[in-house]
Symmetry: C2
Subunit: 248 residues, 2 copies
């Protein structure tokens, strides 16, 4: 509530609804939005038939184009730096994996962006791709609102750190869960995956997982399936214990 | 010579060859490069078989991937802002026209970038695409050397201002030369295209054009064919006289 209070003090024109939206967006971005209108547009579906004062449609489709371009260039620069061994073909292939429709849908779903959608069509009628599309339009909105560097920050936080693992993309690591289990067995450590339901406010089913080793929680994760949540927690555990695990 | 002098004062390790390269690159970029190594790499062909200390090849191919990504995102943002009437499909189509292989080759050729190529293969053996490829790798080098904002500056100066004209890309304007001639005839003005050869230092044929109206030079241009140079000078004239010409 303290953040909400701060906004109201800063700008009296924000209504309660905007204040809540501001908080949610800030939590997702990891930094404060400046102009909420960009983010509202990022979640406006064409079915609303909104027009601006010049008669141009207001919806997320143009922002999707912009966000896609920013995502591609940030990922390109990341791969260029992190994979000095990879040639042009390798970099192109790795980037396609990261920005695949399927992956973007997963990213949008994990952030539960669909809760922000303004539409005349019931949300259940949308296909899977809506999740990835609004993930891209959100990036477009960040670019307009805060510029390229903040786009980079967001993509670092929400795409690169949690998901971009070059070994995995290269197919060297198939499952972090099996990596963790194997290591625990070798090292005679007791591991436990504690799974619980942790649903979204709109009723979407989510699963939380706590992975503990020798009674100590090493990593937590949340995803739309038990399997995904376990894998995510295992990957985080792997990164936490990498030095120890790589020795074996 | 004063710039050269400045470099030598700043850094005594620059030899004469580097000093000349620095000057040429600075003239192309419109700002000073910081680390010449990036630019040297941008013009190193794989036929040199150079390797760095980790055994990875040194050539422009990875930079080409990076530059392509930066170019796409800068052009995306430009079109997004300049064409508020265009939907996602329109923006995608316009961008493809701008970053087409043919267009990039023309851009690289106009800057005569091939003079910087280091290669074991004779330059004449390269196909047309070498021009566009090293134009892209140059953008990649700028990104590494000076960051995204400078990439944007360069693309603004070398791609957007001279070449990106939305009316033309939409096919509304077929030829600026005919536009200029038509206007001059209507307005009873005397126009003259003064064409002369203006070759590159490496012997590439270039043509210069001065377009004057009523005895006053309005625009100059230089290109690899007479027709292109005339068109470019006409486009510049159109932009210079746009207000007057659009009234008619």
């Amino acid at each position: 509530m303290s953040i909400l209070k701060k906004i109201f003090t800063k700008s009296r024109s924000l209504n309660l609804e905007d204040g809540i939206f501001f908080d949610s967006i800030q939590a997702i971005l990891g930094f404060a939005p400046k102009n909420l209108d960009h983010y509202k547009k990022a979640f406006t579906h064409r079915s609303t038939s909104k027009l601006n004062s010049e008669g141009h449609p207001i919806n997320y489709e143009r922002l999707e184009f912009l966000g896609d371009a920013m995502l591609s260039s940030v990922i390109a620069a990341h791969l260029f730096n992190k994979a000095p061994h990879g040639d042009e073909g390798y970099l192109t292939k790795m980037r396609s994996k990261i920005v695949s429709r399927e992956h973007l849908n997963e990213l949008g779903k994990d952030l539960n962006l669909i809760r922000f959608i303004e539409s005349k069509v019931p949300v259940q009628h949308f296909g899977e791709n809506i999740h990835g599309n609004i993930f891209e339009s959100l990036i477009g909105a960040i670019y307009l609102d805060r510029g390229y560097i903040y786009c980079e920050k967001f993509i670092q936080k929400r795409v690169i750190i949690p998901y971009v693992d070059i070994s995995r993309l290269e197919g060297k690591v198939i499952s972090y869960k099996s990596l963790v289990i194997e290591w625990c067995q070798k090292e005679k450590k007791v591991f436990h995956y504690d799974i619980f339901e942790d649903n979204g406010i709109d009723g979407t089913r989510f699963f939380g997982v706590k992975l503990s080793i020798d009674g100590k929680v090493i990593a937590k994760a949340r995803a739309t399936s038990k399997k995904k949540a376990e894998e995510k927690a295992s990957q985080r555990t792997y990164f936490a214990l990498q030095e120890k695990m790589d020795k074996k």
